[in-house]
């Protein structure tokens, strides 16, 4: 019943507006005007509104900056992040004046040159010098920005080498959580394959690969040592995800079937950041930033940046792959199996090689 009443009210309202318009149109046609043609009064009103809008738009932007300026681009907590932020600032410094100037010109012209019947527009069809000016100036400015941007891009994406002695971490994404894997003492990640995913072995670790036996993996939160280069590897189990760590200005997609990389040096510990932000609850987060399903918006991991000592202590507390529940018993058996297998295959190899040589 209520719905019906609302419907009737809407219909009556629309008819009423229609009638009012009709009356207005008829009255202006009696006065001999074309109701659809902009009148002198319209030109005055609309041109003034143009100026009003210009100011309102600028004030709105300034209000937003005052209101939310503190929230944007939180303090960068990585080495390259500071450099990227500088590039960002430079870009803003270039585009903001362009924005302001063109908007002032646009709305000022609209106000200044509003229609007057006693005036005629200036016939001004082209001017090569002017056109050259606003082709060349943007071209030069953009060239500078491009060169500046590319130097930072190359620096940021430069892979780490063994000399950098990076901390290596693999971030593994699936619907809808993250797992971080550390390579353990041997500094080598064990082989993985989707074929091995079973039960608690959710990363698909190949239990025959000795490199993986001391691998450690953690959920919910992972630790980074401050001021040390971190080499990330990203993998995904099911669909594309994206590892986004806004405070570190770091982001890379996690794509099924391939390993992607990113590296950075965290520079501010979580505790220091709590002081900087004045928020005792502050935590760094890893977010998923590629649409991956219903709980995409809640796929997260806490990142703790700590001193090296604390990092090592924490890492030592984590269980190695072999010790993970369920694998404890069968794994030692396997430890011998593969070595035998590989031995025998080696001998086979030798034999075949031998026979081939013979």
């Amino acid at each position: 019943m209520l719905n019906l009443l609302i419907l009737i009210a809407i219909v009556v309202g629309i008819i009423a507006i229609g009638k009012v318009i009709r009356v207005m149109e008829l009255s202006s046609s009696i006065k001999g005007e074309n109701s659809w043609l902009a009148s002198d009064k319209d030109h005055r009103t609309q041109s003034r509104l143009m100026l009003v809008f210009l100011f309102a738009y600028f004030i709105f932007i300034i209000w937003q900056i005052v209101e939310w300026g503190d929230e944007v681009l939180p303090v960068s907590a990585s080495e390259h992040g500071v450099i990227i932020d500088n590039l960002m600032t430079t870009t803003w410094v270039i585009i903001t004046p362009v924005f302001i100037l063109t908007h002032i010109l646009l709305f000022y012209f609209a106000w200044k040159y509003a229609y007057r019947s006693d005036r005629k527009a200036t016939f001004f069809a082209h001017n090569n010098k002017l056109e050259l000016l606003w082709t060349a100036v943007p071209a030069i400015v953009l060239l500078i920005l491009i060169l500046y941007g590319l130097s930072i891009w190359n620096e940021t994406m430069e892979p780490l080498t063994a000399e950098d002695d990076p901390v290596e971490i693999e971030l593994y994404a699936r619907q809808f959580d993250w797992t971080a894997r550390y390579p353990g003492e041997d500094k080598n990640f064990g082989d993985v394959s989707v074929r091995h995913i079973e039960g608690v072995n959710m990363l698909g670790m190949d239990s025959t690969d000795q490199n993986g036996w001391d691998d450690k993996y953690v959920k919910a939160e992972f630790y980074l040592p401050v001021d040390k280069p971190v080499q990330f590897y990203f993998r995904a189990q099911d669909v594309i995800h994206s590892a986004y760590m806004p405070h570190f200005r770091a982001q890379m997609n996690c794509v099924p079937g391939m390993v992607t990389r990113f590296n950075f040096v965290p520079t501010i510990t979580t505790d220091e950041m709590k002081e900087i932000t004045g928020d005792p609850e502050f935590e760094y987060y890893l977010l998923c930033n590629k649409i991956c399903g219903a709980a995409h918006y809640n796929m997260k991991m806490v990142i703790k940046v700590v001193g090296e000592q604390e990092y090592n202590d924490w890492l030592n507390e984590q269980k190695v792959f072999l010790a993970v529940e369920g694998l404890q018993e069968e794994a030692p058996v396997e430890t011998e199996m593969p070595s035998e297998e590989s031995d025998s295959s080696n001998t086979e190899m030798d034999e075949t090689e031998l026979s081939a040589q013979l």
């Binding site: 319209d42 939310w68 944007v72 082209h126 989707v194 594309i240 079937g257 219903a294």
Partner: protein
């Protein structure tokens, strides 16, 4: 069927299976607008969830009980709405709705042609579009809901029915719908290109064509070159989904089992998709800019400044648009060297864009500006084009993109530069050519109100999103409540939602104005805006063949406004050059 069936007065052939370009333009306009309306309503529904996460809106449950149990949109259906909103707005409203309406209406009329090169193909183009719209709408009602993987439908999310509910039947229908859509687009585009090259009236040289036609022509070329690539992309996706191939799939474990897929790569899909996806942006923008050029010149009573530079910038934008698709993929794991190349080509787009903006500004300078509603929206477009275009310099820079990629900063950028500019261009065109479409005038005051409400609420929606994005809020999040780092941004989301509702309500004014004016608007005179172009020499009543008798001959370019020595402030293209007078297109 009797011989009568092909009579002009026969309802079926006049209104339904019409081969007349003007009728087809109206069909595209109405279908596209209805789709656009649906897309807009979808956005207000998911904006409610974003502005007031978890709050119950009983009317949502009343409209869609399975999607919003207890009045709260479910996360799955949130993604479904986001996906279809994007798909509908990009393809159905701003590609087919925009080009379909204005290319069809204006190409023959502004060139002095009796009709399109192939009326039959043109009709097919509309009906494929119509079918495509129906299939897309039907996908709303299938089990699992419509496609929900974002409008870019990246596999494996879109390839595996077990990945997300929308990747079942809904996704299949999405692919079928897009295949039909691409056929429609190709039929239309080929027709436009052939018509422009072959059916120009006597005297209508390429450099006398209005900029609208240049824009439509280049848009059609972009469509012909890029849509087939999307077709192959979704065809391969279809194979992956239905026939067990693995073009895009490799090493996947999902729903408790490892799949037998090996060797494919989602990155291949991303390359194919964006090879269309980026030119697509200009398929939307160029017609809007073309319309703006025409509306700004006509209502400033001045020639468009730098006619040849405008053509040059259209060509440059179109050319560059095929070399920049990788900027959507900086952080997909693509080789960083490629990222560098794409940064270079991407930022080059800013040069022709800057030329266009400054040419618009100079056209306004010392003009005699008539504030028709169309002109207001054209000025609005210049503003949105600048605002959104400038942030493109940030996103196109790979180093900066690392941090803002896939955040609300991107959402703000492309909605302003593509969404708002595209819609403003389209609305401006409707106000301007309404008398040509329907033979009546639209109401001016409603139009003014519509414009001011729209531009205020549009910036109210999209400008604050820059701040969300710079704070690190990812797009396509069902709610921003799960991360304490976003707790201070709640009021931004609420503000955006309020403006989104206002923006949607403002479009109600426009819809009312359109339908009221179709039936009750004052009768249009032949040339209401005192414009120079050929369409205004055709009678108001729609004739098959456009002009009774001879097709008018063209003697000058399209922008002789306020030419010194002329009595009136415009000289139609059909007026022969006076003795000693030069054609100003050079």
């Amino acid at each position: 069927m009797s011989a009568h069936a092909h009579n002009d007065n026969d309802f079926l052939f006049k209104y339904i299976f019409s081969t007349d370009h003007k009728m087809i333009a109206k069909q595209f306009f109405l279908t596209g607008s209805i789709m656009g309306l649906v897309g807009m309503l979808m956005s207000t529904f998911f904006r409610l969830q974003l502005g007031y996460p978890g709050t119950s809106f009983p009317f949502l449950e009343a409209i869609m009980p399975n999607w919003a149990p207890d009045g709260v949109l479910s996360p799955d259906k949130y993604l479904a709405l986001v996906t279809l909103h994007g798909t509908i707005m990009v393809f159905f409203l701003l590609t087919a709705g925009l080009s379909g309406t204005f290319s069809n209406l204006l190409i023959p009329l502004q060139l002095g042609a009796r009709d399109m090169a192939s009326g039959f193909m043109n009709m097919l183009s509309y009906w494929f579009f119509f079918l495509s719209s129906c299939v897309m709408m039907a996908s709303l009602f299938v089990e699992g809901g419509p496609a929900s993987g974002g409008w870019t439908i990246y596999p494996p999310l879109s390839a595996l029915p077990e990945a997300i509910p929308g990747s079942g039947m809904g996704m299949t229908l999405w692919i079928v719908s897009m295949a039909l859509f691409i056929v429609s687009s190709l039929l239309g585009s080929l027709n436009y290109i052939v018509t422009v090259f072959n059916l120009r009236t006597k005297g209508m040289t390429m450099t006398r064509m209005p900029l609208t036609i240049w824009a439509f022509l280049i848009t059609a070329v972009l469509g012909v070159l890029s849509f087939p690539v999307l077709f192959s992309a979704v065809l391969l996706l279809f194979f992956d989904r239905s026939f067990g191939t693995s073009f895009y799939l490799s090493d996947i474990y999902i729903a408790g089992q490892a799949l037998e897929v090996e060797g494919g790569s989602p990155i291949l899909y991303e390359h194919l998709f964006w090879f269309l996806g980026h030119p697509e942006v200009y398929i939307i923008l160029l017609p809007a800019l073309g319309i703006t050029s025409e509306v700004v010149a006509t209502n400033s009573r001045k020639p468009i400044f730098g006619y040849r530079a405008m053509i040059g910038s259209i060509l440059a934008i179109a050319f560059i648009s095929f070399l920049v698709w990788g900027h959507h993929m900086f952080i997909t794991g693509m080789n960083p060297f490629l990222g560098a190349v794409f940064t270079f080509t991407t930022l080059l787009v800013a040069i022709p864009s800057a030329v266009k903006v400054f040419n618009y500004l100079t056209t306004l300078w010392k003009g005699n500006i008539r504030f028709t509603t169309a002109m207001l929206f054209a000025i609005g477009l210049v503003s949105t084009f600048i605002t959104g275009g400038l942030t493109g310099i940030i996103l196109g820079d790979s180093a900066l993109d690392i941090n803002v990629h896939d955040t609300y900063f991107v959402v703000a950028h492309f909605h302003i530069v593509m969404g708002l500019s595209g819609t403003f261009g389209m609305i401006s065109g409707i106000y301007h050519w309404f008398p040509k479409l329907f033979g009546r005038m639209m109401n001016k005051n409603l139009g003014y109100l519509h414009f001011w409400l729209t531009i205020v609420s549009a910036y109210g929606v999209f400008f604050p999103m820059h701040f969300l994005g710079l704070a690190g809020v990812p797009r396509r999040y069902y709610a921003n409540t799960e991360f304490p780092i976003f707790d201070n941004l709640v009021d931004i989301n609420e503000l955006v939602t309020v403006f989104a509702i206002l923006a949607a309500a403002a479009q109600g004014l426009f819809i009312f104005n359109v339908f009221y004016s179709i039936f009750f608007g004052p009768k249009a005179p032949q040339n209401p805006w005192k414009a120079t172009t050929l369409e205004w020499t055709a009678p108001v009543e729609h004739l098959h063949g456009n002009w009774p008798g001879e097709i008018p001959e063209v003697h000058r370019w399209a922008y002789d406004y306020s030419k010194p020595g002329a009595e009136e402030d415009f000289i139609p293209q059909t007026v022969p050059l006076a003795e000693g007078e030069e054609d100003s297109s050079h």
